[in-house]
């Protein structure tokens, strides 16, 4: 958008890491769309193309013992968190090697190892979980935090308001990470909210709130770093509104009657990857060869993930009711 960069570039290695993470998500999503068309992936598929800077930037400042709750548009967060790409792809194939044994699909990626608690497909439904995870952390005397991703559509849900208030009243270490991509499915924010400046809603609960350029990975990372520092110091919850845009349809069923192509093309011009790439090139941190090498590395990882999913197996129907309950017994 502007030539002035408020956030300085990190060193070359870190800069290329951020670019690589965003490209992993972008290419994974493109492959997912292709596999959806090929009917390898079924059900609903919500892609994160355009929003990669947010998951990438936020995860930079989280620790292994922090907890994450995301939405049905969560491939990007899962990948950036370190959930195995093959397990995510196998999940979307419905295979039992999937991270959720094929029970959840695209919308329900879970991974206990990385404390990734979904994959929640009820808009707003994951927010209270993050409050509880933060509560557990605080009661256990830990400085681990909980991060909850949700879209701007969730701001209309009661659970958003209840949760912000509860987290603020109890001073809980929750980062409310709002990904404002402008549309709740097909409903533009201004058509559904009387107050479209979302940080003001959070501020009304005495939650520290900031609006952030969600298309700039460095802006996302910087705001997250400051937010997480506050959380770990016990200064109460933080709300970050990441202003972003999804370049693709809401889901694969969406004909996008509610927005025009000009708008999409305008946003694409300042997409998170093209902007960052251009900045790296102008700082001479990136050249064609380096980019090609990163792309090749990403392509290999995706190829391996697809192969893993293809080779996966179906959970036996006899296991259908397994894990409705834990059978571990009382203790």
């Amino acid at each position: 958008m502007t030539d002035e960069h408020p956030f300085p570039l990190p060193g070359r290695e870190q800069a290329l890491h951020l670019l690589r993470e965003m490209l992993r998500i972008r290419r994974f999503e493109e492959k997912s769309a292709e596999l959806y068309s090929a009917q390898k992936i079924r059900g609903f598929l919500h892609l994160y193309v355009g929003e990669e800077a947010i998951a990438t930037g936020v995860m930079e400042h989280l620790r292994a013992d922090d907890a994450i709750v995301a939405t049905y548009r969560e491939h990007g967060q899962a990948l950036a968190r370190g959930v195995d790409m093959g397990a995510i792809m196998a999940e979307m194939y419905g295979k039992q090697e999937g991270c959720s044994r094929g029970r959840g699909g695209s919308m329900h990626i879970f991974d206990a190892r990385t404390r990734f608690y979904g994959g929640n497909a009820i808009v707003g439904g994951g927010i209270p979980l993050a409050v509880g995870l933060a509560m557990a952390s605080k009661m256990q005397g830990s400085d681990a935090v909980a991060v909850c991703f949700f879209g701007e559509g969730a701001v209309a849900e009661g659970e958003f308001h209840e949760s912000l208030n509860l987290a603020a009243v109890w001073g809980l270490p929750v980062l409310f990470a709002c990904e404002n991509n402008g549309y709740a499915m097909g409903t533009a924010l201004a058509r559904s909210e009387s107050q479209v400046d979302l940080q003001r809603k959070a501020a009304s609960y005495n939650v520290h709130a900031e609006a952030v350029d969600g298309m700039d990975v460095l802006a996302v990372a910087d705001s997250t770093r400051r937010a997480v520092e506050r959380l770990r110091r016990g200064e109460g919850p933080v709300f970050l509104e990441f202003r972003t845009y999804r370049f693709r349809a809401h889901s694969m069923y969406d004909a996008q009657l509610y927005r025009d192509n000009d708008e999409i093309e305008r946003w694409k011009k300042h997409g998170p990857i093209v902007r960052f790439e251009a900045r790296l090139r102008s700082a001479e941190l990136l050249d064609d060869g380096t980019l090609a090498a990163i792309e090749a590395e990403v392509a290999r990882e995706i190829e391996a993930a697809v192969a893993f999913a293809e080779a996966g197996t179906w959970e036996p129907v006899g296991d259908l009711t397994k894990d409705v309950y834990s059978e571990r017994g009382r203790r």
Binding site: G118, V131, E159, N165
Partner: protein, 330 residues
């Protein structure tokens, strides 16, 4: 050896809470007015002073957020007890109970356990009208992934919470609002009871009266009346509404060959309907008479005392149904 003592359902619940808070530092209680106010039914009176505000947490009136926070805290390694004032209010948290508590384990391929107890008051009898008096535990018993228990005696009020907390699954505990003042025997060493199994509260040979919670005492009273009429009623207290202890139910039915189900919940699509259907499936040829039911009338529970009384099972209506059942031929 047991010293014969009596207590109230309310005091027994409070003792159960104290036992849990004393035994496990991961246990805490949260809900509306559980602290400063002492609990809307005074169950947690005094606990804030004893355990402090970290473990006895007054919540805002945000059922969905604090029930969801309980689920999150359980995922995070705590053992929360969440109190919802009444089952009618729990509908505001139904998203969390169904879409998260009951679902996350299976949907994640078995990665997580949610050792959470949600307590709530249920049932009519206090002239609180239609938004505080319903018996919706049967609805919850429809949902796979959660367990449902309902204490009908003082001893069960004392003994259900601890095993429910030890369960790695979410357990909903339904306390009948009309029982809090009920007195009953409570041995000095009373503790955990068997929440997996129904309990035969009264042995009998003529018919099996299957009930739970707030209808248990009424059913026992009806059985006493009927005993004077030479009708020998066996009373089975379900204790657990999900899962149902079918072996105990079937054993009773095989003995008596007649069944009367008493449930304060509405009749249509109900827990009583489920039990009747299972008996039709599993014990049809044991039955000497059609299965009978006494259920809540299919109305929003009204305020006026005579109408409220008429809307829910009473000893007289239970006894009348039993007489009708004994009059029918097999």
């Amino acid at each position: 050896m047991s010293e014969a003592m009596t207590s109230t359902y309310r005091e027994a619940m409070k003792e159960a809470l104290c036992e849990a808070l004393d035994r496990d530092p991961r246990v805490f209680l949260m809900g509306e007015d559980v602290g400063e106010y002492g609990g809307c039914y005074a169950v947690s009176k005094g606990l804030l002073g004893r355990y402090g505000p970290d473990r006895i947490r007054d919540t805002p009136l945000s059922e969905s957020a604090f029930v969801g926070a309980g689920i999150g805290a359980a995922l995070g390694g705590m053992r929360p007890i969440v109190e919802v004032m009444t089952v009618n209010f729990s509908l505001l948290a139904l998203d969390q109970i169904l879409n998260n508590a009951a679902t996350l384990r299976h949907m994640s391929g078995g990665q997580f356990e949610i050792p959470l107890v949600i307590r709530m008051a249920t049932g009519a009898g206090r002239q609180l009208a239609a938004q505080h008096s319903h018996s919706l535990e049967g609805w919850y018993a429809h949902i796979p992934g959660i367990k449902i228990v309902a204490p009908g005696t003082v001893e069960d009020a004392r003994g259900m919470l601890w095993p429910a907390l030890l369960d790695p699954n979410p357990v909903l505990l339904f306390e009948h609002a009309n029982l809090y003042n009920m007195e009953g025997p409570l041995p000095a060493e009373a503790g955990a009871i068997d929440i997996d199994h129904a309990k035969v509260r009264r042995q009998g040979k003529d018919l099996s009266l299957i009930t739970y919670g707030g209808s248990l005492g009424k059913s026992m009273a009806a059985a006493e009346t009927l005993a004077g009429e030479k009708i020998d009623v066996e009373v089975v207290d379900l204790r657990s509404l999900r899962p149902l202890d079918m072996p105990t139910i079937l054993a009773s039915v095989r003995k008596t060959h007649r069944v009367l189900i008493v449930d304060e919940g509405w009749r249509s699509g109900s827990l009583s309907a489920e039990i009747a259907a299972r008996l039709a499936e599993e014990a049809f040829y044991e039955l000497d008479a059609p299965i009978a039911r006494v259920c809540g009338a299919e109305v929003p529970i009204p305020y006026a005392k005579h109408l409220e009384d008429a809307a829910i099972p009473q000893p007289e209506t239970i006894a009348a149904a039993a007489r009708g059942l004994m009059g029918s031929h097999g």
